[in-house]
Point group: C2
Chain length 203, copies 2
């Protein structure tokens, strides 16, 4: 055996399918964390995954698709983590904290980069679809209603969407993780007051 195995583990095997894909996603995350979306290159991802560009391009049409797929392989959807603490306010806080955590992992620059490269599909349709956040908030409210905590008619969609909308706005605009304080403000000064208005109307 004359192949130089000095430092790196020069692979003898040739990966395929799921295994290869997992290595690609892993490499993509690492590149994303080290250099950020802008400076992530297909070349570097390929190198880090010990593969080559054509392998990437056979699966993904470009950087945007690659990164989006990598994110979707790791970040849970809203449905996968609907909080259920037994109290409406705590649930609302938890919804926003979950979202904050997930968006923070991705980072605002990557989000903007995806919007540039893929258009609104990336955020609206795929990562944080508003429909799903409606659904999540609606579930929380329904449970609160079942507990007798609140009693309300149909809330406007705008209001159901508000927690997620304001969270997205914070992340996209501030380039900073959203503070717990900010989350509390949004819940206590905006969302809960609006919900209470609709309770009052019912009574």
């Amino acid at each position: 055996m004359d192949e130089r195995d000095s430092a790196a583990d020069k692979r003898e095997t040739r990966r395929r399918g799921t295994q290869l894909e997992a290595a690609i996603f892993q490499a993509t995350w690492e590149e994303l964390e080290e250099t950020g979306y802008n400076r992530l290159t297909m070349e570097n991802v390929a190198a880090r995954a010990n593969t080559s560009k054509p392998v990437l391009y056979r699966r993904f049409s470009g950087k945007g698709e690659l990164v989006l797929a990598a994110i979707r392989s790791r970040v849970p959807t809203p449905e996968e983590e609907i909080p259920n603490t037994g109290e409406l306010r705590a649930d609302l806080l938890a919804v926003m904290e979950n979202m904050n955590r997930n968006l923070k992992r991705i980072g605002p620059k990557t989000l903007h980069g995806l919007m540039v490269d893929l258009g609104d599909r990336s955020l609206t349709d795929m990562l944080f679809p508003s429909g799903r956040s409606h659904h999540t908030v609606q579930t929380i409210l329904r449970r609160a209603e079942e507990r007798g905590e609140v009693e309300l008619g149909r809330l406007p969609l705008r209001i159901l969407a508000l927690p997620a909308d304001l969270m997205r706005h914070e992340i996209l605009m501030s380039y900073e993780p959203v503070s717990d304080e900010a989350i509390r403000e949004i819940v206590d000064e905006i969302v809960l007051p609006l919900i209470r208005i609709h309770m009052a109307e019912r009574t």
Copy 2:
């Protein structure tokens, strides 16, 4: 004279300073409208302005700075158009319509592109600083109070910021101009109800 003046007006003069800058901004806008931020190149802007890349790079460090400057040369700041219709609701609608018009001129892809290339300076600090939108809404509210239309204590900053925040969110996420219907919903279902709560507290 052997220079070919067949079709184009080959300039004999050499522009400088403000005049040249105006031509550069004009060319930047046209490129922006025709090809969008992504595919706008320094080369093409230079060509359209009948100048050359070094001239651009002497003034602007790159695409982001160039486009930001071009935008700032044309888009009014919030203070320059504080509405004053004599009615609070109409003023609020007008604030949002102004913002919609301005952001629509720029286009969401350009906004995201600027965020990628310049970081949060571009939107937060320079184009639509939240401080200024607070100020605008506060002015509107103060006038309404002076007219005796409402009477309120100090509103939380979050609420003052809400019209602009929700507008930015719509534009950044939807890739579509925001409909008048959506603007009305935001004012009637979110902003005005929250303001009324704080009126009630005062009474």
